[in-house]
């Protein structure tokens, strides 16, 4: 003994030369263990911070796109005099005061995440009475005065200077400014009057003072009233187009007098500042908003009382639900990776201990206590585990800017203690005084006890899996219902339990294969099957392989299903390869536009339709607001008892009618189910000619284009129309933070798990290699040719690989089917319902091929490593098989 032992608190003695010697002899295995620990701690340490960053980005992204302003509505103070109404020249200051009051009424925490407020004073909706299609117009005043340049004329001036009194009901003239597109749509110039009347058909005296062009069309103020900048089509009233005119502080008092006392309202809008919202603050802000809405005044209350309105809380809760779903999906994958990682570490420890058992037994026989051996082994694995964990966590910090310790800890513990525990047990078993009893029944009792222990362990795994899956399906993985980790571990537990069952089936399968081989005339099949049957009882390598590939299959299924769901969701949103939403001013040219698009190269199909969102449709007992699609459908052309045949999506009943302002309703009869068109739940489709025959004249405003050239053609003809391209929508959705993050994680997890599966195969093969090649060498003494020896080795390694290639993907897909419901994939695929699991055929086929190829590679490597060794040398070493 060259080294000096040292005692740690006198409990055990560590023989440092032994520690150094073992570490030097097994540096390859220790390095491998270190690499696995580093990869696992990198994943475990980085995923949580990455999830937090992604969730933050998702909240900000959702708020940025939602335009969910917080709005306070207030009415203006009454302007009554003794016998009429008074013109109040300082009305703009009053509007600004309401804006200040609204700002002060906000909770500080909420105000911190909102931008500076903008107030709008808006008149009632007026109808444009120039004899064309139904169009509406509103007069609007904006605080903050967005900058404009005057193309013609100038800013609206006052009708009279200062205070004035007018009798009730008198018509009062007002000046307004129009944007170029609105002026064009109304065909007016400065000095012209706009032909308008209110809902009671009272004409309004509105004169155009000027035509403007916004200096910055992206100014937040314009966002509140887009119809100020251009005619906006579509919603609310069937077939209407909205437009607006801009008021100045000077013309605002006149606008007030032009309408009834209560007809002009003020709205203060606070746009959320996405960069100030965080994942953690989102729920708090949503709660504050709910409270604000609950305590706000009602429209019936006296003037000046603010009535708060927003869907920011709904948006924040929706994105929180999406984050919960994504976190749950990520947790499921991460738990799977960690579980397999820990199994790999156990296998690596087992392989290492097998190599070391003779040395440990010798050390034990020379007097080393079990505690000493354990301490020596812990010292070594502590150094490896802590160093590797430091590397992994350092990399995690570099990648994610933060570290999650809680997930990394089980990995480090497994790495540090598995090897020492196995090694000490092996040394204890080999040197204990108990001998195998001569009594057959005593031997049987020992065997039965071992079987019972294994059965209890396996039953615990299966019961754990059942419990986790039940928790997952019944409670889901949403936070707030207790710790969701157990439920999130359901799929990984399930795959592990399935792997336990498959491992149990492997000896039965190899036994049957051996029987078949014994009846065959192929000697190699017999010896390969014999080796396979002999080694089928080795649990850990197969458990690692099946669990790794099973969870990888789960990850592949998640990825493919999400991608398919995204594609279907985008297809449903666009409705074709591309869609053009024709602006109301250009609707008349839709047929011509459609013909031009159809003539473009690569365009296979062009369909036009008039789409009216939230059309008023009377159903038995209620009025619904479905999407009404009027398009060419020859199969729906023939009227039925005067009713227009319609395909209906949603529960709208058998007999419906389209309600029109000032016109008799058009009866519809439900003759079938409509396909999904866009993201709405209720859709009604009728034929253009049938609708016209019933008095419902349609002007197409939508063009669907299909074909490889659809996107290019749609973009080329997007003047006067908004082009929506399927591929672009899909790309945008895929690139959304939560979706992109989850898809990346799914692929990373699948890759790491496959690597672990292959590592399991390699480690299992490495631990069985001495016995395998001993047998091959024995067979060579019976006349087996060297090249045939490889087939025997393949015969041994192939059954676990085949079991993994076939069984593990089935487990992965099975537990994907069981788990996808609670995981709410729809939250990241932008679909109304969860997408059905899609089988990832190509990845699974690839996995199977990789496993089979890995067996071939392992056998070739093993054979090459032994090529130089003489048979006599191999047979001289060890005593096996018999």
């Amino acid at each position: 003994m060259t080294g000096r032992p040292f005692a740690v608190r006198r409990f055990f003695v560590v023989h440092r030369p032994s520690v150094r010697g073992r570490a030097r002899a097994d540096r390859g295995a220790l390095l491998l263990t270190g690499a696995v620990v580093a990869v696992l701690t990198l994943l475990a340490g980085a995923v949580q911070p990455l999830i937090r960053d992604t969730a933050e980005a998702a909240v900000q992204d959702a708020v940025r796109h939602s335009e969910a302003d917080v709005r306070a509505h207030a009415s203006l103070a009454r302007d009554d005099t003794e016998d009429g109404r008074a013109r109040h020249p300082g009305l703009a200051e009053d509007v600004d005061e309401i804006r200040r009051r609204a700002d002060l009424g906000l909770d500080d925490e909420l105000r911190d995440v909102l931008r500076e407020p903008i107030a709008t004073a808006t008149g009632p909706t007026l109808n444009v009475t120039d004899g064309s299609l139904l169009r509406t117009f509103r007069l609007t005043y904006l605080t903050g005065s967005p900058r404009v340049t005057w193309v013609a004329g100038g800013a609206p001036g006052p009708t009279v200077a200062g205070v004035a009194a007018i009798p009730y009901g008198a018509q009062w003239p007002v000046q307004t400014a129009l944007s170029e597109p609105v002026a064009t749509a109304l065909n007016v110039r400065p000095g012209d009057k706009i032909r308008l009347q209110d809902e009671n058909r009272n004409p309004k005296d509105v004169t155009v003072s000027g035509v403007f062009r916004p200096v910055d069309a992206a100014d937040p103020a314009w966002r509140l009233m887009p119809e100020l900048l251009r005619p906006v089509g579509g919603q609310g009233t069937f077939g209407s187009t909205r437009m607006a005119g801009l008021l100045s502080p000077d013309s605002l008092p006149d606008a007030r007098l032009a309408f009834g006392q209560d007809e002009m309202g003020v709205t203060v809008s606070f746009a959320p500042e996405p960069s100030k919202l965080t994942w953690e603050s989102a729920r708090t802000i949503a709660d504050i908003v709910v409270k604000l809405k609950a305590t706000s005044g009602s429209s019936s209350q006296y003037e000046g009382v603010l009535k708060w309105e927003t869907w920011l809380d709904i948006e924040l809760r929706a994105v929180a639900a999406r984050i919960d779903a994504a976190v749950a999906q990520a947790s499921v994958l991460l738990i799977g990776v960690l579980l397999v990682g820990v199994l790999v570490l156990l296998l690596a420890a087992d392989v290492l201990v097998r190599r070391r058992t003779p040395a440990l037994v010798i050390a034990r026989r020379r007097g080393a206590g079990l505690a000493d051996l354990f301490a020596e082994l812990v010292l070594e694995s502590l150094a490896v585990g802590v160093l590797a964990a430091a590397v992994g966590l350092g990399a995690a910090f570099a990648v994610a800017g933060g570290i999650s310790w809680e997930w990394a800890l089980p990995v480090v513990l497994a790495a540090v203690f598995a090897g020492p525990a196995f090694g000490t047990l092996a040394a204890a078993r080999a040197t204990r005084n108990r001998r195998v009893p001569a009594n057959r029944s005593a031997r049987k009792r020992i065997r039965d006890t071992g079987r019972l222990r294994r059965f209890v362990l396996e039953a615990a795994v299966v019961l754990g899996a059942v419990g986790a899956l039940v928790a997952l399906r019944q409670r889901g993985v949403a936070p707030g219902d207790g710790d969701p980790t157990f439920a999130a571990s359901g799929p990984a537990w399930g795959v592990l339990a399935g792997a336990v069952v498959l491992v149990r089936l492997l000896p039965i399968g190899t036994g049957l294969a051996l029987r078949w081989a014994l009846r065959s005339r192929r000697p190699l099949a017999v010896f390969g099957a014999a080796r396979a049957a002999d080694t089928a009882g080795r649990v850990l390598p197969v458990l690692v392989m099946v669990t790794a590939v099973g969870v990888a299959s789960f990850a592949f299924t998640l990825d493919v299903t999400a991608r398919q769901g995204l594609a279907e969701g985008a297809r449903r949103t666009v409705g074709a390869d591309a869609r053009l939403d024709v602006s109301p001013v250009a609707e008349a040219s839709t047929p011509e536009l459609a013909r031009a698009i159809a003539a473009e190269p690569g365009v296979r199909q062009v369909i036009t339709a008039q789409i009216t969102d939230s059309a008023r449709v009377g159903t038995p007992g209620a009025v619904a607001a479905p999407r009404l699609v009027i398009t060419d459908r020859p199969d729906l052309r023939e009227l039925r008892d005067g009713a227009v045949p319609a395909l209906v999506r949603g529960d709208l009943g058998g007999r419906l009618e389209v309600i029109r302002e000032g016109l008799p309703p058009v009866p519809l009869v439900n003759v079938g189910t409509a396909p999904a068109i866009g993201d709405v739940e209720e859709v009604v489709i009728v034929d253009t000619q049938a609708a016209a025959a019933a008095g419902l004249v349609a002007v197409p405003n939508t063009i669907w284009v299909n074909g490889p050239g659809a996107a290019k053609a749609a973009r080329a003809h997007a003047t006067g129309a908004a082009a929506q391209v399927y591929a672009t929508v899909l790309d945008e959705r895929r690139a959304a933070p939560l979706t992109a993050g989850l898809l990346r994680l799914a692929w990373t997890a699948a890759g790491v798990l496959l690597a672990f599966g292959l590592l399991g195969l390699s480690l299992g093969a490495a631990s069985g290699a001495p016995a395998r090649w001993q047998t091959v060498s024995r067979l060579r003494t019976l006349g087996l040719r060297p090249r045939d020896g490889r087939w025997v080795a393949v015969g041994e390694l192939l059954p676990p690989a085949l079991l993994t290639a076939i069984g593990a993907p089935l487990l992965g897909v099975l537990f994907a089917r069981l788990a996808f419901g609670p995981l709410a994939l729809r939250q990241i695929t932008w679909q109304a319902a969860d997408p059905p699991p899609v089988l990832p055929w190509w990845p699974l086929l690839g996995v199977a091929l990789v496993l089979v190829a890995a067996v071939a590679v392992v056998v070739r490597v093993e054979a090459t490593a032994r090529r130089g060794r003489r048979l006599g040398e191999v047979l001289r070493v060890g005593s096996l098989d018999g």
Binding site: G783, L875, D881, G882
Partner: protein, 225 residues
């Protein structure tokens, strides 16, 4: 057959190189007549196993030649050696070398499978050999259900299955108690006579030597006497 069944001439075998080289066999030459049982005797490390390996083609000598029934073993390539082991030379090892999941009968039939012997003929031969080694009643038992002596008997039956000309046994009684070892040696003696096979058996047990037709002593890689 006119000459000896086994002829070893001027065989040298070294392991390693330079000053650390171990000279396991030094100019070993001898001949063995067909149908005899020769005991190769020496202490541990004397070169017995190396010599047996060279004779059976499991190892190649650095110098010298080995002929078995006229075939120069030392000149054969791997395929030739495989053929030699299938047809002329078989082995019995100290550690038995049986395949655990196969029954005694299936283990005995293994060389016949490699030789692609028809099933009926294989079964007949296996039954005869198991009867010869006294294990006819244990044909369907697996190695772990047999005692050490019985396992070695199965190994001997397997070695005889392909009707070899030379049976090489390396310490076949090394893992057996004295009584069982003696019975195994007696069995080998018996099969030499009944099967007409030539046996070269290494041992360091003087009692076993009495059963041999001839004893060759080896010490420090050299034959003695």
């Amino acid at each position: 057959m006119t000459g000896p069944l086994l002829k070893v001439a001027g065989v040298h075998r070294r392991f390693g190189s330079g000053p650390a080289a171990v000279h396991a066999l030094r100019d070993v030459s001898f001949e063995v007549a067909a149908g005899t049982m020769v005991a190769l005797v020496g202490r541990s490390g004397s070169g017995k196993t190396t010599l047996l390996n060279v004779i059976g083609g499991l190892d190649r000598p650095d110098e010298g030649t080995v002929h078995v029934e006229g075939t120069e073993v030392t000149a054969l390539d791997e395929d030739g050696l495989s053929r030699l082991r299938r047809e002329k030379v078989s082995y019995v090892f100290q550690t038995f070398g049986l395949i655990p999941v196969l029954s005694a009968a299936e283990n005995v039939g293994a060389p016949l499978r490699l030789a692609r012997t028809p099933a009926a003929e294989r079964e007949r031969r296996v039954a005869m050999l198991l009867d010869l080694v006294g294990l006819a009643d244990h044909a369907q038992q697996r190695p772990d259900e047999l005692s050490g002596g019985q396992q070695q008997r199965v190994a001997i039956a397997r070695a005889l299955a392909a009707s070899p000309r030379l049976l090489v046994a390396d310490e076949p009684t090394g893992q057996l108690d004295a009584e069982t070892g003696l019975s195994v040696m007696a069995l080998l003696r018996g099969v030499v006579e009944s099967e007409g096979v030539t046996a070269l058996v290494s041992t360091h047990d003087a009692v076993m030597m009495a059963l041999a037709d001839r004893v060759i002593h080896i010490s420090d890689g050299r034959l003695e006497g």
